[in-house]
Each structure stands twice: as structure tokens, then as C-alpha cells.
Symmetry: C5
Subunit: 92 residues, 5 copies
């Protein structure tokens, strides 16, 4: 999984029928210090996340386990809201 921050929401009228009713959030990966990393992704929200919240997201085929519709073609899902983060910055 990765740490991310929700930065936007996408509207798409014409889409795969299995995506109807999903909330599609634009999420950018973040580093340990909260710095925003490049390459935003679109993730299906499964925990009621909002813009500006720091979240945990899963990518690849495992993302589909987070939603009820087992036919939906999704490769990213938000599966948690980060409360806190205890850690050490080691650089890198």
C-alpha cells in the first residue's frame, strides 16, 4: 500500500457500467514527511475520504477486494484514513 493525499475528484458520465456509483478520487502519493510525490492516480474511495485527507491506498488486482462489485475493472482503492504516523526519517 502507499500513503497518499486526496487532491481532487473526477466526473465521468461515459464509463464502464461497473464503475457507476463509485467515487473516483485523484490521489497523489506522499513521502514520510508528507511531501507530495509525482504521478497522481485515480482511486475508488471505499472509506469516505475527502479532499485534503491523508489516506492509505492499495493498487493492482488486490484493489478490487476492497469493493463489493467483483466485476469492476479497478486497479486502485482508498482503504484507510491515516490518523497518525510514528516514524523516523532516514532520508532516501
Amino acid at each position: 500500500m502507499q500513503m497518499g493525499i486526496v487532491v481532487g475528484r473526477i466526473t465521468a458520465t461515459r464509463k464502464d457500467e461497473n464503475l457507476v456509483g463509485t467515487k473516483l478520487l485523484i490521489t497523489q502519493p506522499i513521502g514520510l514527511d508528507g511531501q507530495v510525490l509525482p504521478n497522481p492516480i485515480i482511486a475508488v474511495d471505499t472509506v469516505g475520504a475527502g479532499i485534503g485527507e491523508r489516506v492509505i491506498y492499495v493498487t493492482g488486482s488486490m484493489a478490487s477486494r476492497a469493493i463489493r462489485n467483483k466485476d469492476a475493472p479497478i486497479d486502485a482503492a482508498i482503504i484507510g484514513i491515516i490518523d497518525s504516523l510514528e516514524g523516523t526519517t532516514l532520508g532516501g
Copy 2:
């Protein structure tokens, strides 16, 4: 999923038989501001996308859920046309 823009179309006479009849679109990932990112991919169109349109695409094994032929060896599919995008640019 990722945001992309359709930039071209590929013709291939000699190909896997399960790809016959698919529309193969060259799609480049885009960032929040619409800027085009490197490394175009080839995605199977499932929503009637055209060149120049901003789309949502899925990659990996989940892409195969977007098409009817469950034997097709595909790892990318366009699954939505972006109407609008509300968001905040956080840099990165």
C-alpha cells in the same frame, strides 16, 4: 487507474486472435494540470474514446474485466471519458 489523453491509434494485422476487433489506442498519462507525462501505453478502448479525449484507464490484470473476451491478453483498457475534474494542485 490513471488519467490519460488519447494520442493515436495502432493498426496490427498480425496479432493474437483474441485481439481481433479491438480498438487499440495510444494513450499518454497526464498530470493534474493536464500536462502530458512520458511513456505512452496501448489501451483497448471500451467506451468509444477518440483522439484528443481525456480518459480514465486501468492497467494490469484488472483491465481484462473491462472487455467481454475473457481470454484476451490485455493489460490496459480505457474505461471512462473524463467530463470534469475538480481539484487542488499540490505540486509534486
Copy 3:
């Protein structure tokens, strides 16, 4: 799999129900010389790893094999603690 070092822990009250009870560790990939590489990930601990320990982690759908709950939407798991590493640095 990749070599990593555990650098932190994440707390998330609101999360996928299949993640309840898992220990979510922030792990950074490391190189042959132990140098820390960018892009930390969040991995489910399955071997009792602690902060500062060098670990082996697996990513993608195979990570879910490391935990008992086969419905959990996880894409990274710590599956070993590195005792020692014999090798040659070839640069790169």
C-alpha cells in the same frame, strides 16, 4: 521481493474491515549497501518486524498469500527479517 528497512508505523481507525488487527509498517526499499531508496510503502507485518529492522517484503497480489485473511485488500507484506547478506557490489 525487495530488501527494505522499517521506518515507521501507521495508525488508521477508519479502514477496510479486513485490515482490522493488521500491523501496518512504513518500509523503505534499501540497496545492496543498505542505502535507503526513495518511495516508502506500507506493508502488513507477518513476522514480528520492528522499526529499524532490515526486512524482506513482497508486493502485488502475492502479498496476500502471507496473511490468513484471504479477503484482505493488501499489496505489500513483510515476510522475513534479514539476518545477513553476502554479496558483491557491482555498482548500478
Copy 4:
């Protein structure tokens, strides 16, 4: 899928028994303008591709759909020969 150009062939006597009889081609990803991108991969040829040809290749678990042997541990396969490519270069 990605666009690539076949640049070589690999011979391996000692190999997984499910790879016996496969043709393993070194393929480099290419961009819209045909420029060669870094990081060559090894793909199983399924369409009779030759060195110098521009091809479509699929990666990940879906690659295994392109071959008959469903036990073969492959993560990349050439599934088409590019005839032509109509498109617009948008930079990136």
C-alpha cells in the same frame, strides 16, 4: 500494452521446463516517435516477430494468456506486429 522494438534473442539451455520451446526476444519499449526507451525486457514471442520489428507487447500475469502452456511462468509476451501508427505527438 506497450510499443516495442525487438533488439535481440536470448539462448538459455538451463531453464524452467515450461519455457522449453519458447522464443525469448529482447524487446525495448519505444515512444510515439519510435525513439528507443531504456530498460529492455525479455518477452515470449507469440506472433513470429523478428529482430528490428516494431511490436505490441503485454506484461504481467495477462501475458500468460497469450501462450498455450498455462503453467509457464512468463510475465511478458509479444502479441502483435505494428503495421502503422496514426497519432499526434503531444510531447511529454
Copy 5:
């Protein structure tokens, strides 16, 4: 699949029980000219590879097809020893 060179071996006493008995080799990807690329991975050896040998390795869920234990959480496996490589360097 990718071309790599075996550069080391990892010992891990505390590990997933399905990894017991596997040989875990640190492998670095290599380019066409044999130059070593960054980001070493840990791969399960299935062909008797040794340090310094040039190998073919597979990543992702397909790697698990190369070993007998179908419950092992592995995402990389060495599946061939490179005898020779005929090719053209196109740069990139």
C-alpha cells in the same frame, strides 16, 4: 522477464513458513550490454544459479508458477541461466 546478474544471497531465519528451503538470491537487472542497472531485487532461485551468473527472472504473480509450493508469497523467481545473447544495441 528481465535479464539480471546474481550479486548476493540473503539469509533470513525468521520468515514466512512457505519460504523455508528456498534459496533467496539478490539479483540486479542488467541492460543489453551487460551494464548493471539500479534497484536489486530478491528472487527465489529455481534453476541452480550462482553468484556472478547472468539470469532470466520473472516478477509478479507469475513468479509463483516457477516453484512447487503454491502457497508461497513470492513475486520474483530466477527461471533461466543466459547462455548467450545475440542482438543489436539501439541505445535508449
